[in-house]
């Protein structure tokens, strides 16, 4: 049974439709990522699930019960905010204890739970500090501890890593994932960062303009994007699209290789003009175009850096190819088809 579910949620802000008929569920212990660009409605959806916004129509179910009319505190959710929302005037201890105090928990029980969650997140030594005396990563852990202490049915996380620097973000990412695996609570995680989504999510819901374009495991989303939007939103660089029979043909840059490197399987060949190359340490990105293509966007190829670039130079045409099984087809509306 779904631990938390959204059924056909719509949210209208005056003229703007922020969320337009989204259905989504996170099962017990599942980590679902809402992925989309800024303004796609993902945060609004999260706030509706939390009860901080009221949906225009649709139902929110938590633990199998419709919670549309319940206030946030009665929904059994805990939320971690983008800037953490720590209470600046309270010590870490009191920050974590706050949700318990509002529930009228007994003093001994508060002490036990605060210490338990602080230990789980490794912040015992910070308990007497104020939030301003903490680093970004420590604040984030305090926010998680405060969310954890209520033992919620659902965790809602709204871009909790966006205030951290790149290095810290990578370690915080694995910490959050590890933490979620430990507590085994259904989690909905909002982000615009595809690396976070791919790395953490059991399932990813890709959103755009208030609708969910595709829900699936990271592999499904990456390997079998439902439409051109998903195909080009994920991947760096994104999937290449080439016009074909009123629709388009898509292939990932890492599958687009010099013909001589691919042998033994059915190939789709392209004549590729390399315009420029980027060396990124572990790989090389080749930017260019394919013969007979009209679209503006460049075609890219991603080659492992250890592959020798025999004779490949900027400005010249080279025979490149993609294995037939790596090709994806999209119809005139941009939806993936099984057409051959």
């Amino acid at each position: 049974m779904a631990s938390v579910a959204a059924r056909d949620i719509k949210k209208q802000f005056d003229e703007v439709t922020a969320v337009n008929g989204v259905s989504l569920e996170a099962r017990d212990g599942e980590f679902v990522v809402l992925l989309g660009p800024s303004g796609c409605g993902k945060t609004t959806l999260l706030r509706i699930i939390a009860g901080l916004e009221k949906q225009t129509s649709g139902d929110i179910l938590i633990g199998g019960h419709v919670v549309n009319d319940l206030p946030p505190r009665a929904r059994g959710i805990a939320m971690v905010f983008q800037s953490y929302g720590l209470y600046p005037h309270l010590t870490v201890w009191n920050n974590i204890a706050f949700p318990l105090k509002t529930q009228g928990t007994e003093r001994d029980e508060i002490k036990r739970k605060v210490e338990w969650s602080a230990r789980l997140l490794g912040i015992e030594r910070l308990l007497q500090r104020k939030p301003r005396q903490l680093s970004g990563g420590e604040r984030q852990r305090v926010a998680l501890a405060r969310a954890l202490v209520r033992e919620p049915t659902v965790f809602l996380l709204d871009e909790p890593l966006s205030n951290l620097d790149a290095k810290l973000r990578a370690s915080a990412r694995s910490e959050i994932k590890q933490f979620q695996l430990t507590v085994k609570t259904a989690t909905i995680y909002v982000t615009h960062d595809q690396v976070e989504a791919m790395g953490m999510g059991d399932r990813i819901a890709v959103m755009d303009h208030g609708i969910v374009k595709q829900i699936g495991s990271p592999t499904e989303i990456y390997e079998h994007p439902a439409d051109e939007y998903v195909a080009t939103f994920l991947g760096t660089p994104p999937m290449n699209l080439v016009e074909r029979d009123g629709g388009s043909l898509g292939f990932r840059p890492e599958h687009f290789l010099p013909k001589e490197l691919l042998n033994g399987s059915a190939l789709q060949e392209f004549n590729f003009r390399v315009d420029r190359m980027e060396y990124l340490g572990s790989e090389r990105i080749l930017y260019g175009d394919i013969e007979g293509r009209k679209a503006k966007r460049e075609v890219t190829a991603k080659l492992p850096a250890h592959v020798a670039l025999d004779g490949i130079s900027a400005g010249a045409w080279h025979p490149f190819a993609v294995r037939q099984r790596e090709l994806r087809y999209f119809d005139g509306e941009g939806r993936q088809t099984i057409k051959r």
Binding site: L52, P72, R73, Y84, G85, P88, T102
Partner: protein, 307 residues
């Protein structure tokens, strides 16, 4: 090389104003001059007068030591004035800021005509104090008081013995305090609105999700967070009220029988109207240690609360 050599002599002259050690003192000088001429100088002059026998009828600088201070402190009128000043200041702060907080909470809500309501709230501030006090004088008038008319209409007071707002000693004190609180009220509203809008939305949302109800949200989260802003408002309000004499002077002239006299109005009456500059200076100097203490105390409290 040659280009630099040619450029150098012109540059030194031309970039004089780019140097912080030249520009800084230049910009700060008017402010220092202003403070010195209009604050420091009168202050030291007051100290000088307070230990002399200076009156406008006998402008001699004869040194008399602490005599003026002893005179003033032994006077019943002065002691009453000192007490009044505290009642006036503290009362006006409490009423003004409390009402300001409630109004600010209302004005934070979305409702049609909020812009107009916000503009109207600032009115007591924008109206010249003399004009406003005139209006209040009518409301407190012994015959035409609209307040009394209302109280009689509601049946709260006896029509034969209506309260004489400006004629009875205790009521007059209430009247001046209320009028001053009314003047402080927009200030309170602005302070609290500034405070409320400065609280990050994430914190309010977190409090809601954490299950904080109205009271807990307001008094355990919002109020402590905006406390630094409120304290600054309180310092301003206290200092301005403590030194203010306009409402008292315009409404009651310190009467009846000095019942509403505050330090500012008494100092003005003794020092300027009666011409006893020395004693007037002493009365006004009494403001100083209190204000100093208030400011030090509050700034310390502020630093402790710093977030």
């Amino acid at each position: 090389m040659t280009a630099i050599a040619e450029f150098a002599p012109r540059a030194r002259h031309r970039f004089l104003f780019d140097r912080a050690e030249v520009l800084g003192p230049l910009f700060i000088a008017p402010a220092i001059l202003y403070v010195f001429a209009l604050v420091a100088l009168p202050f030291f002059l007051a100290i000088y007068y307070s230990i002399s026998a200076f009156t406008i009828f006998d402008p001699s600088y004869r040194f008399v030591g602490a005599k003026n201070f002893l005179d003033v402190m032994q006077s019943d009128v002065f002691r009453r004035t000192l007490a009044n000043t505290f009642i006036f200041t503290i009362g006006a702060q409490i009423i003004g800021l409390l009402l300001g907080k409630f109004a600010a909470m209302l004005l934070m809500k979305e409702f049609p005509g909020r812009g107009l309501a916000r503009a109207l709230v600032v009115l007591p501030w924008a109206v010249p104090v003399s004009l406003a006090t005139l209006a209040w004088q009518w409301m407190f008038d012994s015959l035409y008081s609209v307040i009394n008319w209302t109280l009689i209409a509601v049946g709260l007071v006896d029509a034969a013995h209506p309260p004489q707002w400006l004629g009875q000693q205790d009521l007059a004190m209430i009247a001046v305090t209320v009028v001053h609180a009314w003047r402080l009220f927009p200030f309170g509203v602005v302070i609290f609105i500034a405070g409320f809008t400065s609280v990050p939305k994430d914190i309010l949302d977190a409090a809601t999700v954490d299950g904080a109800g109205f009271w807990r949200r307001n008094y355990q989260i919002i109020l402590p967070i905006i406390m630094p802003i409120v304290v600054i408002g309180l310092i301003f309000g206290t200092v301005f009220t403590f030194t203010d004499l306009s409402v008292v002077y315009l409404l009651t002239r310190g009467g009846p029988i000095n019942a509403t006299q505050v330090l500012g109005s008494l100092g003005f009456q003794v020092g300027i109207l009666s011409g006893d500059v020395a004693h007037g200076a002493v009365i006004c100097l009494f403001l100083f240690p209190f204000l100093l203490l208030v400011v030090i105390f509050m700034l310390r409290a502020l630093r402790r609360r710093e977030i």
